[in-house]
Symmetry: C2
Subunit: 347 residues, 2 copies
């Protein structure tokens, strides 16, 4: 008796598995041998289908909700389906035609990010997620210092894309308007053109060691304070209501998963942070999300770029039974549009 573990699927098995996952995504009901053979015109009998299904189950691609029900995909089954989908799709390499789009008209970044997330959710009918560009990678174009009162200075950094970051900094000495103006001139001349990351990690130190002139040191204090602390990307989610419209999502155990994801934002942040390291479409299916509390959710992501540097991630969060065939191209395309837009802005 041959062992069935871990072998590759033959042509027929592969076709059947793919069709079965497809069908389950469409209907949400366990797939039984008889109607399945009819619906997809397989030229084999239900009995044979049952045999194949049994094999696929033993191999770990399928499972039965209960002993006399049809088959539904396991997470591994979904994975097989999505992988073969991605292979076939292999994101067209031509230039993206960024239409005169809603997006390109947004002038405030806050709103641009909101639009992107909303677009993802409304087009996919699931939830849209986005990790906004990490300020770390922003290249400083201009620094403005605005005195708020005798001790507080508002530091405004304008990135090359036009993105604005602010920090309130409290300093020890009292400041005159004139000295602030000097500081500002100095900081602009020294820091512009560098990314925040570089500034934080090396530039300031170099400047400090290069010279010990006191007024400039005060300016550097301000700069240093501005770059301390979290310069985190922000997580945006939109369209949770879409997920709540999916009947299976509102059922106890899946609802718990969903609430857990929404509550513990770090889970999503981690996942997206990871996805930022990798180019192209990424999918995480069900149990591949390394959190014991999360069941039945999948996420499709792609990073977006400024120039050729990944600066953030967008994605779609939905049930494991997600319409990957629609979502994958959507995420891919949207990622390209956003990359394009940001890259153009930073020129």
């Amino acid at each position: 008796m041959e062992t069935l573990k871990d072998r590759l699927l033959d042509e027929r098995e592969s076709a059947i598995l793919t069709a079965l996952v497809y069908d389950y995504i469409e209907t949400g009901k366990p797939v039984g041998s008889r109607s399945f053979v009819q619906k997809y015109q397989f030229s084999i009998s239900p009995a044979t289908m049952r045999n194949v299904m049994a094999d696929l189950e033993q191999l770990g691609y399928l499972q039965q909700p209960h002993s006399s029900a049809g088959r539904i995909p396991t997470d591994m089954g979904y994975r097989y389906y999505v992988d073969s989908l991605l292979e076939k799709y292999s994101s067209f390499d031509g230039d993206v035609q960024v239409k005169e789009d809603v997006l390109s008209k947004e002038v405030q970044f806050e709103k641009l990010f909101d639009s992107v997330t909303r677009m993802l959710s409304s087009a996919s009918r699931y939830a849209g997620v986005m990790l906004t560009p990490s300020p770390y990678f922003a290249v400083v174009k201009r620094i403005e210092l605005v005195p708020l009162d005798s001790r507080d200075v508002l530091v405004i950094m304008v990135g090359r894309t036009g993105m604005v970051f602010t920090r309130k900094v409290r300093i020890s000495a009292t400041l005159t308007y004139d000295s602030l103006y000097e500081f500002s001139k100095y900081l602009n001349s020294e820091l512009c053109g560098y990314a925040l990351q570089e500034i934080k990690e090396t530039v300031i130190k170099e400047l400090r060691s290069a010279q010990m002139q006191s007024s400039n040191n005060m300016a550097l204090d301000i700069a240093e304070l501005s770059f301390v602390g979290e310069t985190d990307s922000m997580l945006r989610i939109d369209g949770i209501e879409n997920l709540l419209k999916i009947p299976e999502m509102v059922e106890k155990e899946h609802l718990d998963s969903l609430l857990h994801i929404i509550e513990e934002k770090n889970i999503l942040k981690d996942i997206l942070g990871l996805a930022m390291q990798l180019d192209g479409i990424q999918t995480m299916i069900g149990n591949e999300i390394e959190s014991v509390y999360v069941r039945g959710c999948s996420i499709v992501t792609t990073p977006y770029k400024i120039g050729n540097k990944n600066v953030g991630v967008i994605g779609v969060l939905g049930p494991t039974r997600m319409d990957y065939e629609k979502v994958v191209p959507l995420v891919d395309y949207t990622g390209r549009v956003v990359s394009d837009l940001l890259t153009n802005m930073s020129k």
Copy 2:
């Protein structure tokens, strides 16, 4: 036979109605005469209680889910309860002790707003809502112009509180760094100290008619463009997950209401916009929310101030069966803290 419509409640009826609403808020189960009399030690018999209940039902304060069930409050019943609660509570007038709080440490406004909304939701165990301060009322402290490319200028307005608004403005003529500097000096001298609203409505016009010097007109163009378009407050919601943990909220019809509120953000915006006009705690209960699609939700709000001007609103959104006794003081207190904080910042 006396008509029972529209008379005032006597002492006993009032006490019973209040206790009944209180009990229903606690348990969520229809209140029956026997156990109710026992639990609250009313010195009347269940039969008498039934008579009183029948009267209260005829008056419109109570209803029965079905003919042999206990009573539950109508929206009018909740209204009676909340009003008598508010009367008793009458928000203490002493100074608020703003503790060295999480809030006062926030340096970025975005994050401050997030914190407030999150605080409201986690303290109430419902959803926190906030209408961020309308930029309209922000008093300009400083204006910075940053050239992005030959045609685009980033206009940065710093409000007296330290809040920052940005606008990207596209102009026809090509700009030199020097002319921008001139514009910036001019705009700062003329516009600082005015609220955006005033600038938009009167100041610019006055300046235009007062003088026709061309370079200044160009500066005014920039200013005008910056103030055109929506300067809306933003709506923040946090803690929807809390609402989804309430069993009755996940039931079909209430879930639909909830999704409708989340989707059609304008409903909430309108409600909050209205609440901003009125000082003190406001409550909207169930059908008082003028949207046919919304059922079973209540909202408790209060405006917050900078100085003595209402600039935004905070509130808690929950089921009609909300713990008003906890939520009302929470919203009231939080409102005072936020007002205090913003007012101090703008000194």
